[in-house]
Symmetry: D2
Subunit: 350 residues, 4 copies
Amino acid sequence: MELTKKDLSMLHFDSDYMEGAHQEIMRRLMETNLEQTPGYGNDKYTVHAKQLIAEACGKPEAKIHFLVGGTQTNATVIDGLLAHHEGVLSADTGHINVHEAGAIEANGHKVLELPENNGKVMAEDVKRFIEDFYRDETYEHMVAPGMVYISNPTELGTLYTLEELKELSEVCRNANIPLYMDGARLGYALASDNYDVTLEDIAKYCDVFYIGGTKVGALFGEAVVVTRPELLKNFFPLSKQHGAVLAKGRMLGLQFETLFTDNLYIKIARHAIDMAMKLKKAFIDKGYRMWIDSVTNQQFVLLPNNEIDRLKQDASFELWGPRGEKETVVRFVTSWATKEEDVDKLISLL
Amino acid sequence: MELTKKDLSMLHFDSDYMEGAHQEIMRRLMETNLEQTPGYGNDKYTVHAKQLIAEACGKPEAKIHFLVGGTQTNATVIDGLLAHHEGVLSADTGHINVHEAGAIEANGHKVLELPENNGKVMAEDVKRFIEDFYRDETYEHMVAPGMVYISNPTELGTLYTLEELKELSEVCRNANIPLYMDGARLGYALASDNYDVTLEDIAKYCDVFYIGGTKVGALFGEAVVVTRPELLKNFFPLSKQHGAVLAKGRMLGLQFETLFTDNLYIKIARHAIDMAMKLKKAFIDKGYRMWIDSVTNQQFVLLPNNEIDRLKQDASFELWGPRGEKETVVRFVTSWATKEEDVDKLISLL
Amino acid sequence: MELTKKDLSMLHFDSDYMEGAHQEIMRRLMETNLEQTPGYGNDKYTVHAKQLIAEACGKPEAKIHFLVGGTQTNATVIDGLLAHHEGVLSADTGHINVHEAGAIEANGHKVLELPENNGKVMAEDVKRFIEDFYRDETYEHMVAPGMVYISNPTELGTLYTLEELKELSEVCRNANIPLYMDGARLGYALASDNYDVTLEDIAKYCDVFYIGGTKVGALFGEAVVVTRPELLKNFFPLSKQHGAVLAKGRMLGLQFETLFTDNLYIKIARHAIDMAMKLKKAFIDKGYRMWIDSVTNQQFVLLPNNEIDRLKQDASFELWGPRGEKETVVRFVTSWATKEEDVDKLISLL
Amino acid sequence: MELTKKDLSMLHFDSDYMEGAHQEIMRRLMETNLEQTPGYGNDKYTVHAKQLIAEACGKPEAKIHFLVGGTQTNATVIDGLLAHHEGVLSADTGHINVHEAGAIEANGHKVLELPENNGKVMAEDVKRFIEDFYRDETYEHMVAPGMVYISNPTELGTLYTLEELKELSEVCRNANIPLYMDGARLGYALASDNYDVTLEDIAKYCDVFYIGGTKVGALFGEAVVVTRPELLKNFFPLSKQHGAVLAKGRMLGLQFETLFTDNLYIKIARHAIDMAMKLKKAFIDKGYRMWIDSVTNQQFVLLPNNEIDRLKQDASFELWGPRGEKETVVRFVTSWATKEEDVDKLISLL
């Protein structure tokens, strides 16, 4: 799968982790490169980044932890939140249920599938699951619902409304189980058009969530925000045990300090949204059918298979799966680094 | 544990992961920053780095995998090598036995302790353990010796001689269990004075080992070399399950490509050795007793406690543990980034 | 949930593990009670029982292991058969997926759900799952199908036909993954009317299966038959690690020796079938609708809720779940120990 | 290892689980065999047995759970008590550290070894371990001491004095970690000569312990006593997940009800002690050296190797390990079922 010379002239819309980091992050990494700091996150950049994030969340008491990647973060957090006999409720399309190579189960926990609703978990489905569970006389032989996992944006690029988030939070708090949000692409939610949910709302309604860096401008890194710190004690040794502690932890601090200075995280995410919306409009204008009405940086379109074959010569993107014999759902992803001229070229090819 | 202004004028000999990366690595990261590549190590830099390492090992058939950190690497590799009923033989001082927060056990495996010999595992101890094990009538009730873990340099800065390595390899191959070397600081072994073991020797005698990047010039990253690929199949999903796969995998490839071009890995490690030897000579010349005769970048000295208190005002280093009431073993670590003027200043303080 | 005096006159059709053991087993346990034998299954009764079972299976080379209970057996066998990155395909109604408190996941493995077809896994669904899996470009990020779990009779009392079993076996062997049958109630399959599958067929088409004792006449105990011993090496330490080894192992040997002498296992299972068929016929004759057409010892009937309330005063049985507002599916279970007079009494109550 | 005809005339002192169950237990099992009861311990015998044990412990508020075997019990209890980052302190000779095939580690936890003192863990060693641990600046990289495991009698047949137990309890409570006693042979402690510790003392000083049935008169079964129930919540699903729940749970209840009626548990244990003391006295009178001064049912003697060869023709016992070239430590075990004539015969052979 190495890129060939042909690739160099290709237009890439495969994913949002094809480039390195935002230039401001690279500048900071260079600038501080030979400074000496203590390891494992005990450095001033990490301390400052935590302050900035807690402030942005409106939660000074929140605990912030930096990990390297998304699967690692989900596995560590979920392992920390669940008791032995508990599992995690997730949409069947949830990343933890499909694309993490069984990391949740490898740590001993079952993913309890709920039917996805445009990629989302609905509060009423959670409520019904919990009610049905405890109504079953044999429930002690079954895996108890111990927390709810949602991703926002979802794997399908859709977003939870404020109302949906409130309802989920209410159901979870009534059931005394934590609500956890996977924010691998959180920036692309917060920066999307007319989105009625803020970072403060998320911090208010989620017990734990993470702010994704890898897909939004960082080389790597995810910031876990624990708004109810009593739920995740001893996080350092837990992370260490999960192989999730970076020796040169300041690189995480530095990157998030940069992203949370001058609103950079949202600004660069906004660019990806602009590019995605331009692309979406072009698809619609040219008469293509969108498979999902996504307002974020992932756009899913139904394309005729022969059109796909033609496009593949000049552009790369992901095949999401066939729909009938002649059409396929295709995913185009923009990012903080997408060049407008590439979007224009792609549009001209349609 | 944040650094204060006072710290800025401090001399730091705490560890070998206090700085960022070698300037050549930083240059390459900057240079390629906005290139688009496929994720998860399917990029040209990673492919090239693997070739360079396989060549340097004299093992074109070896499989190379890049992971992020040492604990993660040990946990993933050991989990992949052991059957359920097997444990890993290690010196009681081994990093996996002491400083990885139980990551081996968290994956279901017991660390079978052997007495350390200057931080090393001796072939005869392995042999005796295995013989005693299978001589015990109840051995099926016990954890079977399933592999041997060694670190080189060891946690005490000592090195395996070629003869010791050969003997370990022979014992392991006779017992049909793999020999695995943790090379978190491997550069500091290979670059040390008069060391009779080469990278090719290591590739010859070890079934799996890793070449440490984090402590030898990289921002992060460890290169796992599997010289008998049949022992570690399906490494990608295994790593993914361990949360050990980096989305922007090219950063690992790029760093190791750089380190294995023009012998950079050894050259920068050599600098750390020079600094360590200068320091060691100064200690000895000034009449201090070395606790261990280390030829690598970690130097252990017995210091009077009042001398430690005095030094602490100007230098930072790790207390390794008290020896009697008036003295303590102290560890000084140099690295590829240590400034000679800092070594000179430290010496002048003694 | 203690039984009250009222209970003593109740008719119990809750499950097939409400009594102790068949009298012949009790007799043998008494008779040999003070004999001294080595522990952990190294006794003559266990050796003999293994021979009897291997013969009954027509597989002299098969390895037989005795464990205590069903969940323990499934967890141990599945843990032994799967590699880290693999999961177990199962009907969504499969016992391992629903009623084992997450034991499969607790050992690190995902249950990959297939839609049940009358409680059964269909070969074509397995085939499609495997094909779809390896066609997906991201399959290395997903849990690989590593084996197939079926139960026979299923949790719904249905049976695999010889043809269905052959097809499953073929699909599994083509994909090089083992087929495992949970035979917790296997006797009630083999003894059912006109069943075209024999124990030899099962041994021919399954790579591993177990013959349930707990529900078919034993105090406890399940006999694992490994027809391809190379798939499950080191089973003793694996079982020990799972807490699944009985110190006084001869009790397992003795019970299975008894069950496999003079065809006792089938004879006593036949009684349960006779009782179940009598009950089924009565339900149908009286105009009730069977929810599932079961030929084994579990009978599922749709009953009006007010009828259930009335019956509950004299009989105990399991509510399987509501169907609409006025009816509920109810399960009646017979066993080797069911008294015909109790069946007659129940029928007279309908 | 099957017994041959020769064996039938052999004297067996290998272990305390060579026979079935005490006749009173067998009688009760026969008597109740065809009664119908709910499964999984929801029966009247189990409820009554729990009451009897709680009363005998002087702890009406204690929670009692019945499991099948010792390794299973240790694995389940320890898994339930420890947090992810914690390990269990144990004597290096502890059963969990040596003879349970890594069951503790298989559940993710490290056994933290303390040097044994006649098979015992000393309070001062626990105290020192904990102090040293938290004094180490890197303790968050290490496995935290999360509980203490002791066995009483120990694997060497020795006993904790009341004073030793008090001290251990005090150290544990000061450190806020539970003290857990493995009582696989507890009866043989309580029934030994002049022992100053009662069951009530154990219930007072241990947070969790188990009363062994398998080795003291039962077919199988261990009664876990949780004197601080808040430490082990959700024990049923935890046990189920561990494959440790018996479908016909009443068999456990019945056996313990019998053992705790009319002081049967102590009476039958007393017989084993009488036999062991007779044997011990004979060894000493005949000039043999006891390797350990055991007052319980395991006796360890130093025997010349040629004497062992001679004895082996008429008696079976366990070789505990060589001491020099000419002598070996040998273990003789008596039980509730040992016949005095067998002891006399063995003595006559010395």
